[in-house]
Symmetry: D2
Subunit: 393 residues, 4 copies
């Protein structure tokens, strides 16, 4: 195998770059999870994570799992719902499809509010679907705050408003796996009942734990929920001293979490969000420059909804996204995200979340621009220049 030199530019939208200091914090011998030293690390991580979630409601709970984000979604569904319950899934892309499929497999009925993946959901359609549910069969609304596959974000306040307008009492479950720590998120203010999050995106950690933040209303719903559960059972967790996890705890990840949250607090969450916006906008300007000459274009069509954590790029007809990705990797050591599900081969994705700065995104954009050229993909020149013009302003 030939050696790839230098540091890989990991421009996938998740898992994401891990800051060196987080790797350092995790690089440690085992510790008993009941050791007071660990309990302090754990408790301080929980406090900081709640602050990041803007979660302070009395009676709310935060449950962790040794699991990926998919596990946290399963945990959320089995703890809140009963066999045969209907959930209203707001279509956003590959992941909303996935959660609908998961709900069905777990014995729920998934009703979908359809949407064009390139435009995103219409809150009025959500309101209409809820109004139509006179019988109250819908027990929960499932929304993906930031759809990694399409590079589009959804306004959670607008969804909340639609639910309130419909006067419907369903729980609002939001997937913040690829948004938390990157774009604004406010659990309490937005009236979200269950927030599903993971370690490996904006929290800048390796895959290893995921969690659900649960409102007091959802805690009450949990008491009535009858889907079978054990590994993910919140009631079981609530009996344990850490009030989380069934089984052993991935202690190293909490040393990492403490550090990643310290980094976010040191920079300031507002600055973090502003930086994500700045680097995302630079990326979009590059793509718009490339889109000239019948080149690749932004997958998302509604500028107001373009995600600040990932940009999905749609290839011109007849050109392979994976060929571009392969060139970027093999020749320039840059890892781009591929198209998911039905977007496979026609879309590639540039992650710009987590531990990132200007030269990192510019190096990535330069690799993309060169890879387009090398693959003979028609495109407007000057993408990197456009990004630089914006970033130097």
């Amino acid at each position: 195998m030939t050696r790839k030199t230098g540091r890989q530019f990991f421009s996938n939208p998740g898992p994401t770059n891990i800051p060196d200091s987080v790797l350092r914090a995790m690089n440690r011998a085992t510790i008993d999870f009941n050791d007071p030293e660990f309990v302090e690390v754990y408790n301080s991580s929980v406090r900081s994570l709640k602050a990041l979630l803007h979660m302070a409601e009395p009676g709310s709970e935060l449950f962790f799992y040794t699991a990926s984000g998919h596990g946290a979604w399963e945990a959320t569904l089995v703890n809140l719902l009963s066999p045969g319950d209907t959930v209203l899934v707001l279509e956003s892309g590959y992941f909303s499809e996935g959660w609908a499929g998961m709900a069905e497999k777990l014995g729920l009925v998934a009703q979908t509010v359809q949407a064009d993946w390139r435009r995103g959901i219409d809150p009025a359609a959500v309101e209409a679907a809820l109004r139509a549910d006179a019988a109250g069969r819908i027990k929960a609304v499932l929304a993906v705050h930031n759809e990694t596959a399409s590079g589009m974000a959804m306004s959670m306040p607008a969804i909340r408003q639609a639910m309130d307008a419909a006067g419907h009492g369903a729980l609002l479950l939001a997937d913040t796996i690829s948004s938390l720590g990157s774009i604004p998120f406010r659990m309490d203010d937005w009236g979200i009942d269950a927030v599903v999050g993971g370690s490996q995106k904006g929290l800048m950690l390796p895959t290893g734990f995921s969690f659900t933040a649960v409102s007091a209303k959802a805690v009450a719903a949990h008491a009535q929920a009858r889907l079978p559960r054990s590994y993910f059972d919140w009631a079981e967790m609530a009996k344990r001293s850490h009030r989380s996890f069934v089984g052993t705890i991935p202690v190293g990840h909490f040393y990492g979490l403490q550090e990643s949250l310290r980094l976010i607090e040191l920079e300031g969450i507002d600055a973090v969000i502003a930086r994500h916006h700045r680097l995302a906008e630079a990326t979009r300007r590059a793509v718009r420059a490339w889109s000239g000459n019948a080149g690749p274009q932004l997958y998302g069509l509604d500028p107001a909804r373009l995600s600040d954590s990932v940009t999905a790029v749609l290839m011109p007809d007849g050109h392979s996204a994976d060929a571009v990705r392969k060139t970027a990797m093999d020749r320039f050591n840059v890892s781009l995200g591929g198209g998911l599900g039905k977007l496979n081969g026609t879309v590639f994705r540039i992650g710009h979340l987590g531990d990132l700065n200007e030269p990192m995104i510019l190096g990535t954009l330069a690799a993309v621009e060169m890879s387009l050229r090398i693959n003979g993909v028609p495109h407007g020149r000057g993408g990197v220049d456009a990004a630089m013009d914006y970033l130097a302003a």
Copy 2:
């Protein structure tokens, strides 16, 4: 907080010591799990792990999860069984209780073959229970190969023999979480249909993934199993290129796994097993010395069944195991395992599995002996001497 100096002696029976080279291997930037470099690491880890399991049957499968051992047990049950199925749980201690409870929560019926925790199961009782199941309600037998809580191992061949003698077709599910890589284990030869394992014991890794090794017979049973499942669904996994995991993969753990399996292969599994036995026997000789003068004694009463990965020590009446543990930790920076469930406070446990050598176990035993003295626990002197006599022989 006062500083604990030196390296902590982590003498818990799990999670266990992580070799420095494993920590180093895991201390790395993120990589895409579809990157060919990672795929090579992944595939080589799978090959080595199958070799360690002595698992080569055609049609068998190995499924991984981002989860702890509890998650792997849930995965195993939901993939193999249907609502209302009966499982026969062989009582061994705290963990067999746990799996019985889990089965009930998931909608199964758990029938238990009772046993004295200090003596272990009687295979004849297993055979009898199976013979009594004329209706064939029992679909699976659940056995904990090595019961971490009691420090007792169970003969899996004896269980297999009992099942064969009864002519019962139930699946045999074995928990090797605290045995694999420490004491002999042979999946194919012993006719085990599903092996549940985790990363954080004999594999010497942090908590982070767990797995089920599945026989061809169990693969067939899976096709009929109707318990709801999604995150742990083997059918879903089988569609993916890694044939494991739903969702993102904890890539760093596989760099660690590759290294820990390399270490085991370098030492040789027979040498690893012999070393575990040697250090375990040294520990038992120390405990037997202490047991003089009405001191603490080995919890397990059947010498043939004492575990080579953990020793459970029963305190004399009126003396607290946790006081001894606290002294060991606060004064000597030695972390001992506590008593689980009904053994809480009366038992402490010395882990001697994984990355361990003679001075490590002797340092631990010395700390225990001093802690007994400091706490005024009656005991025979010379425990460390007895261990040294054995180890120097």
Copy 3:
């Protein structure tokens, strides 16, 4: 302090980027330098380093020091020369000045062949100086193969030829601190008597050891040399089992050296050299683009001598190199080298040696281009584009 996000782009010409795998290799507990495990690591490192030096002459020696490159120069002088000896220093820039000054401080006479730093030495002048030394006072010629301060390399074969043409028997001492592992170097073929090298440049290690590779002729000269020495005394080292070091050995660095040499061998030294040339040429094309519109220009004026490991950039009059560097650092987390000695403030330097790839150098060039703009430095646009055009060709 505000947090700098993402990985710093360390574009200094030394110390240089350390590959992650080298950091990992060094991240280990202490080992006795007489431990057979270490001796194996040490010996394999020595073998690989000799191969990289193209050093195979019988009777030659390789001596290591716990010291930086300055220490290795002192070691080389005190082991080869006697009080009052004359050394002929070939002027190349800041570092040739430094070695001349060092020679004087150690009791030698330093005679300098002057040269324009922007054009480099004239071999004919070297030949003339040696021919003029009828008395044979000159005992050694001191040449800096790659002058980090000016970004100019010197043809060592041309110097060797000049010495041969003059028929002068002086030793040829070459400084390869910033060239070895980046541009071609052949000790034996080029007739070099002492090669001075260090850990922290092309060998991609932290500062910590340096070395002299000594020809058989120089070994003989050492026997006659009378400058006082102890810490750096080769005779003392030759008595020790490692034939290097007076005092303790920095063991961790040799684990790192073994790994960095493994990386070089894996890539292949020819590929390493070609990569350095490619990234250097991309950098020069960027600078040439900027030089339009009375902008910054390449400091070196002889294109044939421009270094492939570092590019020195001369600012237009009235503009501060340090202001550009400060912007690159504060706003873009890019560390550039400053001007050394008389070049301070008017020159900045872009290191492009060691563990580097295309997006890394492009990210750096983008940061420089933006920093020029932000500081109102006149310059031609399109530097990054020019580099991309070259790299995508």
Copy 4:
């Protein structure tokens, strides 16, 4: 090669165990030594090190070198003395011999006050030697505070007193390489003019830097000193912004130093010293137990002078220290120090300094006791028991 399992017990008296958090702190990408982040780390390290030295005299200086302790001794001599100067070396063992030899090689005259290595120096003999120097030829007294080779410490106040009593103005140079951070040391109070220290003993770092702390009187002497010097020249260093180092700075080591000094401050230097005494005393009690039955004995004969950082053990006639060391290493993964110089083969040494706790030293002592037995060395039993009795008291 067979695998050594578990963590090696590194019981050498230097280099020493490196705390995991120090390794972590050093495991980082390169940083420019002029980067403000590094300057802060550097300055805080200097402040803490001065505090540890009890060094606060106005006009005093602290100079660092990329070098081992031998380099720091050379630096100290060449900066303070002139060719032909006489130094008075106080014999303590292998290292005092070494410094005398170094002085001679550098062009000084070394006059030795002889002493029995097993009993240590007689301060009256020092006073006598100085009184005899009516001509004032002696410019400096060289004392090894803690002689690692013999396991004996010297009372620096007693030496100071002897010098004062003689009314002699020589400089007092003290080697604290193996004492600082382990046993009490007070530069100002004890009137020491130059303190030579290194990174790899009580400071718990890898080999990589060493230093001299210089009193105001010695700073004045430096101005007159005429030994040739360049790499170690304090005058050159004083011109640089860090006031230390000629050439590049080993930045990683200062991240490590900051951490190791933080650990010492967290524990408290008095507690550190008390811990060293406790673990040393336990070691001595073990050796005294072994010395029964014509077994090995403490090399040092004056109990008041036995070092708290290292214990030298003298083998009974006809038994090899190295055979014991080899067994300890090959069979128990315990690294012991060998006998230095004339003690080679007859003495082994147990380091008990730096990052150490009770079970670590007890594990080491157990390995030694078993290795004595395995090698058929006569010895009294119960060494570990004696140490435990003391430590549990």
